[in-house]
């Protein structure tokens, strides 16, 4: 009864662990008298039916425990009854951990007929877990060969199917050699290979085992199950064995799921809990080559595989073991984030760094390890691959454009993950942009542009801005918008980088490389000027298209907030070629956006001025008076248009809308003064109309001049309620309304 004891011991923690499973905790084994266990039953929904079922299962198990001699199934009704009970409960709810010990024992001991044993084995469906001890004890039955070959085979198949349900596997690993010896049995061999495949660890791979497998291979020829096991051996010990799997192989093991899999799935679904999910087997050795291409010109991101280069010799030399037991953890086994955390101290990078691109766990790891060689390996691999595959640079590669797109996409995703651009990718862009047609892999290329690292302007101009501008001016509206979007993200990435640098500045160097703060300011300023320039030209080319204007103003939404949001002493106003088309836009969205931007400029400039007054420290980066002047010119024009109806007189910007009265009279437009205020502005007139309809439902004359005095205020409230938040912020911050009661429309501008 030794074994029995051990199973009891292992039962306790199991039940506690799975106490949330009503099915399991409801199950009691001779525990009716055990006060401790009754506690665990408290949550069971004890319906009569359940109770009686459990009782009958207990009775059945205890019957099988005591059964002594060969009992004929046909003649013994008691046996029939108990067997049927086990089967039906197994199928319905699965068997509790405690049942396996008894049932495996009886099935493998040969006490009963094979027909009974088969039925018993087939009903061994776990409700939660299977105690390792019961598996170990049943393996010991195989040694004494009391049971027939077919039962042994069934047992091994069962073991493979339920492998992930076994609670511990340490002792099972100790039996590796025992399972290995079963390989000589021709019928068992495929299944034993599968089992060994599940059990194999690095330390299981031994030269004598390899020799044995190779002997088997020589005897039986190429067998998929041997191939699978051998390639796993190769994975662990490439210095001992080598194998290349044929590409077309799909399955390596015979289906051993038998009758159990479906039942297990049903029960799992019924229990609705996350029991251990069997991980799919995969062998990274075989690369699926869809078609023939010249050697090495195929775009394959290598699979993560352990570094085969670390031969036994240098491992001992270089390995400074902090944890005496630690062997390096093979990357193939890295599947979950918790594994990463547990093994982070002895994780090895894969033999080919390119494989990290498709392995987010390794990217996490890469993020914490600052090792130059990692980046260098990736740099060389990626640089060469990009050049080799570039669809518009290499002859005959057009047909592989889709593949190349995917590759670029993968790189972009990795860059986003690492929040960092790859220098190989940057170089690739510099080399290939001048040859780019602006069409091939467009969205991928433009996304990669967003991660170009900051570098000196002269480089950016000739490598990025010039080729991009050429394409920009000659391409469609949609392309222009995409470019602007990319450049906005590029700007944001640079600014974010700067913020991170600021944070780490206190740590040590701050601007360590070749970037000083003033250098950074210059480069960012050049980008903004570049965008200002192409935006001005593009608005003319596209006749001030609203869609385009949206992307341009979106860019300036980032620009206007640089000082406060990114802590960089830089503010650049949009050029007149952008400001005026936005101000006189036909679309309220653009106007509202412009209002918001001007409000943010004001906030930033005011904050800068205050900071200057408080601490004279950063005088080096004082905004020039020209910036303030430009802002003031714009704000005068804007208030003149929208509020005071005096734009044509007061606008002092050289490219502004100031016009002589005589010229204006010649236009024969009546009331020209007010034609751009918030009532008459083409972007706002729609609102004014709706407002009139609501305020004077009976009046059909559309007399806009009615909106004045108190109605003017109502109208403002109406506009704010329509979602014109930018306009609200602008009016509230930039227009000094002398007396709200008197509704004086006198605006005042001050910074």
């Amino acid at each position: 009864m030794q074994r029995r004891q051990s199973s009891k011991n292992s039962k306790q923690p199991l039940q506690v662990r799975h106490s949330n499973q009503t099915d399991l905790s409801a199950w009691r084994k001779g525990g009716r008298t055990d006060p401790e266990k009754s506690l665990q039953n408290r949550q069971s929904r004890n319906s009569q039916v359940n109770e009686s079922k459990q009782d009958s299962l207990e009775q059945a198990v205890s019957y099988f425990e005591k059964v002594q001699d060969r009992v004929s199934l046909k003649k013994n009704e008691v046996l029939q009854k108990h067997l049927a009970t086990v089967e039906s409960i197994a199928l319905q709810k699965g068997l509790p951990p405690e049942a396996f010990d008894v049932l495996l024992n009886v099935a493998l001991s040969g006490k009963l007929a094979d027909a009974v044993n088969t039925r018993l084995l087939k009903s061994l469906i776990p409700a939660s877990v299977i105690p390792e001890t019961s598996v170990v004890s049943s393996v010991s039955w195989l040694c004494v060969s009391k049971c027939s070959g077919s039962i042994q085979l069934l047992f091994v198949r069962w073991l493979i199917t339920v492998f992930d349900f076994i609670d511990h596997k340490e002792q099972l690993h100790a039996l590796y050699g025992f399972f290995f010896s079963f390989l000589q049995d021709e019928k068992m061999c495929p299944y034993v290979c599968h089992l060994l495949y599940l059990l194999t660890r690095k330390e299981s791979v031994k030269p004598f085992r390899i020799r044995r497998l190779l002997d088997l291979q020589a005897k039986m020829g190429m067998q998929p199950h041997l191939q699978a096991l051998l390639s796993l051996y190769k994975l662990f010990c490439p210095e001992l064995v080598s194998i290349t799997l044929p590409g077309k192989m799909k399955t390596y093991f015979k289906n051993s799921e038998g009758p159990w899999k479906a039942a297990i799935n049903t029960i799992r679904r019924r229990n609705q809990e996350n029991s251990p999910v069997s991980q799919p087997l995969f062998l990274g050795t075989a690369q699926h080559q869809s078609r023939k291409r010249k050697w090495n010109t195929q775009l394959v991101i290598p699979a993560s595989s352990a570094n085969t280069n670390s031969l036994a010799g240098d491992k001992e030399k270089n390995h400074v073991d902090l944890y005496s037991t630690s062997e390096s953890f093979p990357v193939e086994q890295l599947q979950t984030f918790s594994q990463l955390l547990q093994n982070i101290h002895h994780l090895e990078f894969p033999s080919q760094m390119g494989s990290v691109l498709t392995n987010p766990l390794l990217l996490h790891y890469m993020n914490c390890i600052k090792d130059e060689s990692i980046y260098l390996r990736l740099y060389y691999w990626m640089g060469q691959t990009l050049q080799e595959e570039c669809s518009w640079c290499v002859v005959d590669s057009n047909q592989y454009e889709e593949e190349f797109k995917d590759f670029l996409e993968t790189i972009y995703k990795t860059e986003c993950f690492l929040q960092e651009g790859f220098s190989s990718c940057e170089e690739f862009l510099y080399k290939s942009l001048p040859l780019w047609d602006g069409f091939c892999c467009r969205s991928q290329i433009l996304r990669l542009v967003t991660w170009i690292p900051l570098s000196s302007f002269s480089e950016m101009k000739s490598h990025l801005y010039d080729p991009l501008a050429q394409l920009f001016f000659t391409s469609s509206l949609y392309f222009k918008c995409s470019v602007l979007e990319s450049l906005k993200e590029l700007l944001q990435n640079w600014l974010n980088w700067h913020v991170i640098q600021l944070d780490s500045e206190s740590d040590s160097q701050g601007y360590s490389l070749n970037t000083t703060l003033s250098g950074l300011v210059n480069v960012v300023a050049e980008l903004i000027h570049f965008v200002g320039w192409i935006s001005t030209v593009a608005l003319r080319l596209e006749s001030n298209a609203t869609f385009l204007l949206y992307f341009i103003l979106d860019f300036y939404e980032t620009v206007c907030d640089i000082y406060l949001r990114y802590n960089l002493p830089l503010l650049i106003m949009p050029p007149a070629g952008v400001f005026y088309p936005a101000l006189l836009s036909m679309d309220s969205v653009s106007l509202n956006q412009l209002c918001y931007i001007m409000y943010r400029y004001r906030t930033n400039l005011v904050a800068a001025k205050e900071n200057e007054l408080i601490k004279k420290k950063i005088l080096q980066f004082q905004f020039s008076s020209q910036t303030y002047q430009e802002y003031n010119q714009y704000i005068i024009a804007m208030v003149g248009c929208l509020w005071t109806s005096s734009a044509f007189q007061k606008d002092i910007h050289p490219q502004g809308v100031r016009l002589d009265d005589e010229v204006l009279k010649k236009t024969r437009v009546q009331e020209f003064k007010t034609s751009f205020n918030i009532v008459y502005h083409p972007a706002m007139m729609g609102y004014a109309l709706l407002f009139l309809q609501q305020a004077w439902p009976d009046d059909n004359t559309f007399n806009f001049s009615l909106i004045k005095g108190r109605k003017w205020n109502w109208y403002l409230q109406y506009l704010y309620a329509q979602g014109l938040k930018g306009l609200k912020l602008f009016i509230e911050s930039s227009i000094n309304r002398v007396s709200r009661a008197s509704q004086s429309k006198e605006g005042n501008v001050q910074v």
Partner: protein, 334 residues
């Protein structure tokens, strides 16, 4: 043009020999041969190289590859590498059959070091990989037949080797002779083991003109073979190659008039040299060679094809040619 009068091409024949070649479109981003920059003439002497040790490299066609630096390569482990590569090749050849590392196989792999093939102190010693087959009849004592060879080298590759950390070994130029299928297997093994990347190294027409000029200027013994330039005419329904052969002494005479400072060559000089040859050709055949593409240069020193194939002919100039090729390989990597 003064120099033009002195050239006496010995032959200029048109041949329809078809050989379509694809042009590499990637120009070198930072041309070291930019206008005005002086390229040093390859050292014409080889003090430390024993001609006999490198004789087997001559008169064979080598396909050129560039290789990024090898990660964690150790020259002390060549025997180990040979064992592993041997097993890898066997496994690749019998796909699906596992092979034990270290047992006798039908293909024998040897790694050896070629310490003579170096330009500077920093250069890593060149490494030769040879595959030879054993006759299956009598595995012992039977002579091995060389099937394939390939070698890695770095001659004056300081540009690269100075800039990589210790873990990396710079052998940027790889040359292979034999079936391409073995290049694929050996290359894959190196790529997997040392995380490097192989790429075919094509030679641009511009670099071919440099080779033509540089090699023309080298001294060779009498009765040297003709200097031959092969041009391919683009945009024709049928491929057409033009072969332009010049007596080496005539070519040298022309070059000597073009070159101003001995020991230094400029892009202008190379261009002028070629222009002279072109205009001479035009006078005779009314064909503008400048409108065609130079695909092959062969001289007594070496011959080079734009597809990235080279043949060394003089062991004296081996190092010099390798130096130029190393430079091309490095510029492809960086």
């Amino acid at each position: 043009m003064e120099s033009e009068a002195r050239t006496l091409p010995s032959a200029g024949r048109l041949s329809g020999a078809a050989r379509l070649s694809r042009g590499p479109l990637f120009g070198r981003a930072h041309g070291r041969f930019g206008p005005g920059s002086g390229g040093p003439l390859p050292p014409c002497s080889q003090e430390n190289a024993d001609p006999q040790k490198t004789a087997f490299l001559l008169r064979k066609q080598w396909a050129l590859y560039s290789v990024t630096p090898l990660y964690k390569f150790s020259s002390g482990k060549l025997r180990e590498y040979a064992r592993l590569l041997g097993a890898f090749i066997a496994a690749e050849r019998h796909k699906g059959l596992a092979v034990q590392v270290g047992v006798d196989l039908d293909i024998q792999v040897t790694f050896s070091s070629l310490p003579d093939l170096k330009g500077s102190e920093q250069d890593h010693a060149a490494m030769l990989v040879q595959l030879s087959s054993r006759s299956s009849v009598s595995p012992k004592n039977s002579e091995e037949k060389l099937m394939w060879s390939g070698w890695f080298c770095c001659v004056s590759g300081d540009d690269l080797s100075e800039n990589v950390p210790e873990d990396f070994t710079c052998l940027p130029l790889f040359l292979a002779n034999g079936a391409e299928s073995y290049v694929a297997i050996v290359g894959s093994w190196f790529q997997k083991t040392f995380d490097c990347r192989f790429r075919r190294l094509a030679i641009s027409p511009l670099n071919l003109t440099w080779m033509a000029a540089m090699w023309t200027g080298c001294k060779v013994e009498k009765n040297a073979s003709a200097t031959e330039l092969v041009f391919s005419v683009p945009c024709l329904p049928q491929p057409l190659d033009i072969s332009y052969a010049i007596h080496p002494e005539d070519a040298k005479a022309l070059w000597d008039t073009v070159q101003k400072t001995p020991g230094e060559i400029t892009q202008e000089e190379v261009d002028l040299f070629m222009d002279c040859l072109y205009s001479h050709f035009h006078r005779h055949f009314k064909i503008h060679l400048s409108a065609t593409k130079l695909v092959k240069v062969s001289t007594a020193i070496a011959s080079a094809h734009c597809d990235g194939i080279i043949k060394f002919l003089q062991s004296k100039y081996l190092i010099g040619v390798l130096m130029l090729l190393t430079e091309l390989a490095i510029s492809q990597i960086q």
